[in-house]
């Protein structure tokens, strides 16, 4: 794709990014509507990403994952002295939160990469389908549904794999850890304002649990002592003839 032909060199980066994106969509559309011309399994038209990166750089953002890869909070803190002084405990919490943030960013980058691969597989599968079934191209709805089917298929394949399960669990575990550290900071804040702390509320909840349990037991015991047994009712049958069967509801 020759971008210079359509956008002047001095065009604002956001305009170039947008135009490249539209051009990529057009290429994609042409491929989908003309399976004969489609390079099935060929590269996805992702050239427009370069313009977005330039745009991001223009805004002062880091253009690629190098920033994340280069980020090593542990390393940052390793060069510093251990947490000292009045705010030592809070510094420690802050350090752990930073560590977790770094870990989360790395794993989230993995997640984005997985998602991109799933998207690419889905697109290729849609291509193949469209090449074999022209009716898919008859309406946007048909091609959209085909894409959804392909995307779910590609996603399911990845999602059932061990790396994906690890990834999901890591993201969940990191966020859980972050939530705990954040809770410690809030706990400190609560003390400053003389609000009930989480630990205090938990203690009350434990007592509520104990009291509820004791009340239920006492009630049950009293009932067992005072209440008469049911006098009428159903009696249990003997074992029926062995019958283990499987059937289908619609048969």
């Amino acid at each position: 794709m020759d971008d210079s032909a359509t956008t002047p060199a001095q065009a604002p980066p956001y305009l170039k990014a947008w135009e490249d994106y539209v051009a990529a969509c057009q290429v994609l559309f042409e491929r989908l509507t003309d399976p004969a011309a489609a390079d099935v399994g060929g590269p996805t038209p992702l050239a427009f990403l370069g313009s977005w990166k330039d745009f991001a750089t223009n805004l002062g953002m880091r253009p690629d994952s190098a920033a994340v890869d280069g980020l090593n909070p542990q390393g940052m803190f390793a060069s510093l002295l251990p947490a000292l002084g009045y705010s030592r405990e809070h510094q420690e919490i802050g350090r752990r939160m930073l560590e977790l943030t770094g870990k989360f960013q790395r794993r989230y980058a993995d997640f984005v990469q997985q998602s991109t691969e799933i998207g690419r597989s889905a697109l290729q599968a849609t291509h193949r389908q469209a090449s074999n079934d022209e009716t898919l191209l008859a309406t946007p709805a048909a091609i959209y549904d085909a894409w959804i089917d392909s995307a779910e298929g590609a996603y399911a394949q990845a999602a059932h794999g061990e790396p994906f399960a690890r990834l999901m669990a890591d993201l969940c575990n990191i966020l859980s850890g972050f939530k705990i550290e954040r809770g410690k900071l809030l706990e400190a804040l609560a003390r400053q304002f003389d609000w009930p702390s989480r630990a205090e509320v938990d203690s009350l909840h434990r007592q509520v649990r104990t009291l509820r349990s004791a009340a239920a037991k006492a009630k049950g015991a009293a009932k067992a002592k005072g209440a008469a047994k049911p006098t009428t009712g159903l009696t249990r049958r003997g074992k029926r003839k062995t019958r283990k069967a499987t059937r289908r509801a619609d048969r």
């Binding site: 909840h205 239920a216 159903l234 009696t235 509801a249």
Partner: protein, 353 residues
């Protein structure tokens, strides 16, 4: 068709879709809040967060023992009575069944330390006791749905004298089968860490459910919604379902941790290694007749998670019923509505004392 022709066609279609979307949005604006769970019922027993409802009869009694429905804690039970023409409960009532429903409610911080044992042996047990006493019977029929089915199995294994017949519906028994995506994801989750800061938000569960089929559940269904021909009935159905899907209660931390760890991660139930209330929960202790209903296309509880029940229960009267629907379709689809309540009642009548 050339690219230009295709593009023109695309624009035409897009305009038509836009018109339909506007029309659907206008229709939705007029609907307002949808109502769910409309069958007449009364709360006959309440304790802490839980409520036991008894439904008003709709037909002459079939003279069956009362039926207690134990629903999952992870969703709201009104799915079983979503609307008059999509209600498993209503169908059962119309067939003369005396229906009770255990509603776990919305747990809050005070439930954080309530263990799973208390839910199974405590709350569920006391609801059973109440129904037995109210009806002056020795045993009732228990219908456990989804996670509630697993809990019902545990209860039936421990208190078998109280259960005349046990029905499980889309209930997991073997939590480690290859098709079970939820289980795969659960294996590496540090559930102790997850629950250390309190109850697990319902929103977390919603995210997990959406992540099982993200493209269909976060995109396609809304695109399809906007293409409905502003049919008020259809839109109301959609909104009721939408309400139910996202109306997930927070999960009490301790019970949730135990459930994930003991069932999903360690698969204790089927291995005979589960203990509740200091007693071992053995499926072979379930001696009453068992009807196991599962959905052929269930993405939450795949058939492979339910089917093994037959090989583990002690009952010699075991029957499995496969319905060609998905997990939610089991409650609301036309196919399930037509077959499932009738099959349940027929099965119960065959075992009527």
């Amino acid at each position: 068709m050339t690219a230009n022709e295709s593009f023109a066609r695309l624009l035409q279609d897009a305009a038509a879709m836009q018109e339909r979307a506007q029309s659907a949005l206008r229709a939705m604006r007029d609907i307002g809040e949808v109502q769910v769970g409309l069958s007449e019922k009364s709360c006959v027993y309440a304790e802490d967060r839980i409520q036991l409802h008894r439904y008003a009869p709709l037909a002459r009694s079939a003279k069956l023992p009362p039926l207690l429905i134990c629903y999952a804690m992870v969703n709201r039970p009104y799915m079983l009575d979503l609307q008059p023409d999509r209600s498993l409960i209503r169908e059962l009532l119309s067939l003369g069944v005396d229906v009770y429903l255990l509603d776990w409610g919305y747990p809050d911080g005070s439930d954080r330390f309530t263990p799973l044992t208390e839910y199974v042996c405590g709350y569920l047990g006391r609801c059973v006791d109440f129904i037995l006493e109210q009806n002056a019977v020795d045993a009732l029929n228990l219908l456990g749905v989804c996670q509630g089915g697993t809990m019902s199995l545990c209860y039936a294994a421990l208190e078998r004298q109280h259960i005349a017949n046990l029905i499980t519906m889309v209930s997991p028994v073997d939590f480690k089968t290859p098709e079970n995506l939820l289980s795969k994801w659960a294996q590496h989750i540090d559930v102790g860490l997850l629950t250390q800061s309190g109850n697990v938000p319902g929103e977390f569960l919603n995210l997990v459910y959406l992540a099982l089929m993200p493209f269909r559940l976060t995109q396609q269904k809304y695109v399809n919604l906007l293409q409905m021909e502003s049919d008020r009935g259809q839109l109301e159905n959609f909104l009721r379902m939408e309400k139910w899907i996202f109306d997930s209660p927070d999960q009490p931390a301790t019970a949730f941790r135990e459930f994930i760890q003991w069932f999903y991660q360690e698969n204790r139930l089927i291995r005979g290694e589960l203990a509740l209330d200091g007693r071992q929960v053995l499926l072979k202790n379930i001696q009453c007749p068992v009807l196991n209903i599962y959905a052929a296309n269930d993405h939450l509880v795949p058939p492979s998670a339910s089917i093994p029940l037959g090989a583990h229960v002690g009952s010699e009267d075991y029957e499995a019923l496969q319905v060609d629907v998905g997990h939610i379709g089991m409650y609301v689809s036309g196919k399930a509505r037509k077959n499932v309540p009738a099959a349940i009642v027929r099965w119960l009548l065959e075992r009527k004392p």
